[in-house]
Symmetry: C2
Subunit: 333 residues, 2 copies
């Protein structure tokens, strides 16, 4: 296992220590229970926005804590759900009196633990709403999921809802916006290589030297099919067409196009893929009014990519463009 780590069991903790040291202006990191909270804590009268999940998808979620996006995040061990006590502590730390929204990717452990945390926080007097994100069109049920998995749309919804909360939206309105964005988003990913969870010490799955997996999950869960590796333009077609067809996105729709690296795929390839993704979108009459290209929801060092389309409205464009200052996403601030 070729990784820049010390003890496989200390990876998340030591990484969070470095993260805290790098961004003291933006975040505080608490341990036992472990959560990341914006440096200036709960904002009086503002809805708190909290997410979390297994580590290994950085910059998601810790990297989106700061101003204008998440108020707190709960990192689990690599590819492992965080526990309810982490989520409860994070929730209470960002309750400024206007309630807290949980943005939960649809994985069985995350959903169950966020449900328990919401109950605990409600018992403590914090209003909680939860929205489950399930944008992955690849498979209906999967290794860790009843129903569709939550993937790339999570990043977009965290940004848009974080901006809405900063803008003074009430809890129900931020939650409704998150649910509406989730309805209007679709994603699909693929892998060229596996990745290795440090505590496992060997690749999560095997993929032949000439193979790729279409519809891969962000923990390496099986997707739709294994195929021989193909030119990038074909790969992009295999992702974009099902994403467009599923909703369906139709002629004249304004969309945000998000082309994401799973981690090991470098920017030179990602922009090459973006070129084709725009072509496919435009061939369907979609207007790409905003885009995001880069490694924003990753699977450790996995090589591969995903595409996400989100229907945009004037409101969503305004909230997307609003200032954000986090370690992983920053503009206008």
């Amino acid at each position: 296992m070729k990784k820049l780590i010390n003890n496989p069991d200390a990876v998340v903790r030591e990484s969070l220590q470095g993260f805290a040291a790098a961004h003291p202006d933006l975040v505080q990191v608490h341990f036992d229970p472990t959560y990341v909270v914006r440096a200036d804590g709960a904002q009086d009268g503002k809805v708190g926005v909290v997410s979390g999940g297994g580590s290994g998808h950085e910059p998601m979620h810790n990297g989106y804590v700061g101003r204008g996006m998440l108020d707190a995040a709960c990192p689990g061990e690599v590819f492992t759900s965080p526990t309810p006590d982490q989520m409860q502590a994070a929730t209470e730390a960002v309750d400024g009196g206007a309630g807290v929204l949980h943005l939960v990717k649809n994985y069985t452990g995350d959903v169950m633990n966020f449900d328990m945390a919401a109950d605990l926080a409600e018992d403590g007097g914090t209003d909680v709403r939860s929205v489950v994100i399930n944008d992955d069109v690849a498979v209906e049920d999967s290794t860790y999921t009843a129903g569709r998995r939550g993937v790339g749309a999570t990043v977009l919804i965290e940004k848009i809802c974080g901006a809405a909360a900063a803008d003074g939206y009430a809890l129900d309105d931020v939650a409704d916006l998150a649910a509406a964005c989730n309805e209007d988003a679709r994603s699909m990913g693929m892998a060229l290589t596996s990745c290795t969870v440090p505590s496992a010490g060997e690749p999560t799955f095997d993929l032949g030297e000439e193979e790729m997996e279409i519809g891969i999950g962000i923990h390496g869960e099986p997707g739709r099919e294994r195929k021989d590796i193909a030119p990038a333009d074909e790969v992009v077609d295999l992702l974009m067409e099902p994403v467009i067809a599923d909703r369906p996105f139709t002629d004249g729709d304004d969309v945000l196009l998000f082309v994401n690296s799973m981690g090991g795929t470098p920017m030179i390839e990602l922009y090459l893929a973006y070129r084709k993704a725009v072509e496919v979108a435009e061939a369907h009459g979609l207007n790409v009014v905003r885009n995001l290209v880069g490694p924003y929801i990753t699977s450790l060092e996995m090589a591969g990519m995903s595409v996400t389309l989100l229907q945009m409205t004037e409101e969503r464009i305004r909230l997307w463009d609003a200032p954000v200052h986090t370690p992983g996403l920053r503009w206008g601030a």
Copy 2:
């Protein structure tokens, strides 16, 4: 070769097409000769700042073209110097009457071609100053270099000098600042894996399953030594100690600490390494007043990291903090 590409010979062109499609507000991409220029072209009365080099190090350099950093960049083929006609065209495209600074990483082809381009541009009436960057302490001469290689300091100098040019500094003053920053910067890198140049189709070098290369170059050139892979904290020591000793950086120095991924090393590992790098810096009495952590000067999908230290002054801190809006680095705008 597992890459998201179509034709190995079209990678740079197709990637640049996607890059142009993603960032029309920031950049224009010209072909034949190929260069990237800020979307709003030459700025009247402002020094133009130009860099360039082989592709495969994204976001450097194309990703740093925009506002407050580079005015233009010349991408060569992967790991191959761009040609003088590219550099000349880029230089003339950003000449707003105050002259143009070339920031040149110290590789034989880059230096030679930028020299020729400077002569051609001078013949055409453009004032040009050139600063060669050579911050890599690993080796004195190397595969593509007489003298030390230019690596991580390039990113920092592009930011600081881009801000100085935006601030109205005269050509000689921007050039002097670049030279002074180069004097005050040191770097060293390491690799856990090789990378594959698309047109070559096989790894640039071989590294055993238990080996790492300390002092690696950004094109996979040999470094100081091959060793058995070691815990991250030891690796960071092997990079930080020579960097600190070389200048030397001494007790009380204010520094910017830049911990860079070679591409394939994910953020969870990079922050873990940053944690140790800060410890080493502080043990030497250095004050880490600014930092940068991420994949900013990469070698395709190579796993590994580099560290760069730059001595900071009040002026450099002010210029580092100044707004920047490029595809690869953005804040305050």
